[in-house]
């Protein structure tokens, strides 16, 4: 399919114009993905620096490195930046933007200008938030709980809230673009059940973008109005209810957790099928479990509010519903394992990340069951157990998937190979550093160390020192890909169109792809992942 004419120097999307203008005004989804990659990396580094300062502060029991006020601002900025400016846009905006048109065999997303606009919106939101950070910061925690955020905090809440609000529109526009593209622009022969599982996961993610983000937007507007005009919707003095904010906030922000993890699951499905040379076991189940997670994600927000004073009945219902999310998640893990079974598995860098993902996501997911259990949650509420749990999901899950995906598609994105040895070293360092950072926090939390404190009793010090040591290793693990991937962009050996011998339309065009993606519209004649591994049993 799409046979390329043999030309010495074929134009690709990277050398289609060199000036700043050709990038900043581009409507090519691949270039927009790279714009996102650059800005998201910047935010990741910033959020990481905040995290390291937090960990350094916690090296000693006394709060001696920064004041408690500064500490509050540090963890707030770490949370805001990492959640809204890194985790949520990371895979959709970078890999989704780059891959969805390629994977469905289209020349671009449905609305290229809207796509560029969404990057600018993201950047403007980022500028607002960073301005807030530079001019004094904000100390409410990334959840902006009222009435503290709306009435009492005397930091830059409005500026930060506006930044997050604006960024939300970037997510909405991206999700909208994906949904329309997946619906309307599939290549001939590419039926829904021939779509790569990554596309399914992006589809489910877009649904959450569309249905959740506006609710977050309006809650933040109300917080802003309440701060500026004292309108009192959340203010208990005049009968307003701070709980209403929590309901509205978590109605988005719990599904947002699945925005962070679903794309990674899609990436992992691609990697595992490719490096075990097998068809995906239970393709339909993996596809539908993505949708199921997206739907169930909207029904469980109340498990963030078990100790908030909501009714016991609500607590019990939300507890029960929360358990349900474990089912589609477990289906995925089982299906990946079954895909590996009797496959001819090779341990390349992306595969190491995928394995890391499965391990860490399983731990994170199982501890999620602890927290869905009403009684246990009351015990570990607002302790480091929670911190460890969601970092296992968000960092162990989302970031592992993101790094795995970046490595897997790096040859396609940059047209160059990265040094495999360094790739594997970095994957192992990240995995070890991650576990050393966050596993001790499960124990800390179980023993009762509360989150968001900048000083703690001396008996917790050993575990905190372990955690800080792990964070340093993790930091190095993240730095390595930054260095060798940047290096490979210029000096790496040229990649072939399909270096992994993978299936999927994106591998049928050249690396890097030409601006119009395919010289001829591809026609799909086989199902997804039609691998035939020697000795592998097809299920």
């Amino acid at each position: 399919m799409s046979v390329a004419l043999a030309q010495p120097e074929r134009p690709d999307y990277l050398n289609d114009g060199y000036g700043i203008k050709s990038w900043l005004l581009t409507r090519d989804h691949k270039r927009i993905a790279l714009l996102y990659l650059a800005s998201i990396t910047l935010f990741f580094v910033l959020g990481g620096i905040f995290a390291l300062i937090i960990r350094l502060e916690l090296l000693t029991p006394a709060g001696d490195l920064v004041t408690s006020q500064t500490y509050n601002k540090l963890f707030t900025m770490h949370g805001v930046i990492m959640v809204f400016f890194f985790l949520i846009p990371s895979i959709p905006a970078v890999l989704g933007n780059f891959l969805i048109p390629l994977m469905v065999g289209a020349r671009d997303l449905a609305f290229p200008r809207l796509n560029l606009l969404s990057w600018y919106v993201y950047v403007v939101g980022g500028v607002f938030t960073l301005t807030a950070a530079i001019t004094g910061g904000v100390d409410t925690g990334w959840t902006f709980y009222t009435p503290y955020s709306s009435t009492y905090s005397n930091t830059h809440v409005v500026l930060t809230v506006v930044g997050v609000f604006i960024t939300g529109f970037s997510s909405i526009l991206t999700g909208l673009n994906f949904i329309v593209t997946i619906h309307k622009m599939r290549a001939p022969g590419l039926s829904w059940f021939r779509l790569p599982l990554f596309v399914w996961s992006m589809y489910a993610t877009s649904m959450i973008f569309i249905l959740g983000t506006p609710v977050l937007a309006i809650s933040l507007v109300l917080v802003g109005l309440e701060r500026i005009f004292r309108i009192g919707i959340f203010d208990p003095h005049i009968g307003g209810d701070p709980l209403l904010f929590q309901h509205l906030f978590w109605f988005y922000s719990h599904p947002a957790v699945y925005i962070m993890i679903l794309p990674s699951m899609g990436v992992v499905s691609e990697i595992i099928t490719c490096f075990s040379r097998k068809r995906a076991f239970g393709y339909n189940f993996i596809a539908f479990s993505s949708v199921a997670i997206a739907v169930l994600g909207f029904l469980v927000w109340g498990h963030h509010m078990f100790v908030s004073g909501q009714s016991v009945a609500a607590g019990v219902i939300f507890s029960g519903l929360s358990f349900l999310v474990a089912i589609p998640s477990a289906i995925k893990v089982f299906n990946w394992t079954a895909t590996l079974y009797k496959g001819s598995v090779s341990y390349q860098t992306p595969m190491l990340y995928a394995f890391g993902f499965i391990g860490l996501f399983t731990i994170g997911g199982l501890t999620g069951l602890f927290l869905a259990t009403l009684g246990v949650d009351v015990h570990v509420h607002d302790t480091y157990f929670i911190i460890a749990h969601f970092h296992y999901i968000m960092v162990g899950g989302a970031v592992m998937g993101y790094l795995g995906g970046i490595h897997f598609w790096w040859p396609k994105i940059s047209g160059r190979m990265y040094p495999e040895w360094w790739g594997r070293v970095a994957a192992v360092v990240v995995f070890l550093g991650f576990n050393l950072t966050f596993f001790p926090q499960f124990i800390l939390g179980y023993l009762g160390m509360p989150r968001r404190y900048h000083a703690y009793p001396p008996e917790f010090q050993v575990l905190n020192v372990m955690s800080t040591a792990g964070a340093s290793i993790l930091g190095i693990g993240y730095l390595l890909p930054l260095v060798y991937l940047t290096w490979s962009m210029r000096y790496g050996p040229k990649a072939s169109a399909n270096p992994w011998a993978a299936k999927g339309l994106e591998w049928e065009t050249t690396s890097p792809p030409p601006t119009e993606n395919f010289l001829e519209t591809p026609i799909v004649t086989e199902e997804a992942y039609a691998y035939a591994a020697p000795g592998a049993t097809h299920v």
């Binding site: 020349r107 671009d108 449905a110 609305f111 200008r113 673009n177 983000t213 506006p214 609710v215 109300l222």
Partner: protein, 225 residues
């Protein structure tokens, strides 16, 4: 909001050029429509947050909400409702004119729609000014003499947040209409290419429908003698 791009890459040079990423005009048209519908879903949820909040407090403080509703200017509210429904009619006629390629009626209907929109906003401004004079705007200077003045402030908070957000959408809609009016006068729309008018119409109808919910919730809940 870039509704223009949502309309499927409104072409600059030629009337019914198909943007490079689409195979044909039909695909482009469908993509534009689906895009707008999806966007409207997000809008429903955007307003949905406020509707949810309103519902909660309405059930907590029924007396305060009833009193607040009594204080609304029912006349202006009703006239505005009629104005918006009429504007939806003219908008629908504009869409039809664009599909059949009749330029003059299209321009006329779009102008009338915009006029209705401006009338609506004018009445809204009169209403808000009156509320402002009577210190009904929530905040330090709020005062209201109903049976439950404290909680009435929450009613007025929702009133201003919801109608304010709605008015903002009207203003955006008027911007959209201006764009349609200019391009319609250039004779850009016809049987083959009219997606921007259809998509703009969807947006306009949506804003009207939100008002259809706001009107009873804000103006009619306190049964009047």
């Amino acid at each position: 909001m870039s509704d223009r791009s949502m309309a499927g890459e409104a072409p600059a040079p030629r009337a019914h050029a198909v943007a490079h990423q689409f195979d044909d005009a039909a695909q482009q048209h469908e993509a534009g429509l689906l895009g707008m519908w999806t966007f409207l879903v997000t809008e429903i949820l955007f307003f949905g947050g406020m509707f949810a909040g309103y519902t909660v407090y309405r059930s907590l403080y029924p007396n305060a909400f009833r009193a607040g509703s009594h204080a609304m200017n029912l006349q202006i509210g009703s006239i505005n409702t009629a104005v918006l429904i009429l504007s939806s009619l003219t908008m629908a006629l504009a869409v039809h004119a664009s599909q059949t390629g009749r330029k003059k009626p299209l321009v006329a209907y779009l102008s009338v729609t915009m006029l209705f929109g401006l009338i609506f906003l004018g009445f809204k401004a009169i209403e808000w000014t009156a509320e402002f004079r009577e210190h009904h705007v929530p905040g330090p200077h709020f005062s209201f003499g109903g049976p439950d003045p404290v909680h009435s402030q929450i009613f007025f908070s929702f009133y201003f947040a919801m109608t304010g957000m709605h008015a903002l959408h009207m203003v955006i809609g008027l911007g959209l209409m201006t764009f349609l009016l200019i391009t319609a006068r250039q004779g850009r729309y016809g049987p083959e290419y009219h997606a921007p008018v259809v998509v703009g119409g969807l947006y306009w109808h949506f804003v009207d429908i939100v008002w259809i919910f706001l009107y009873p919730l804000l103006y009619l809940i306190g049964a009047r003698k």
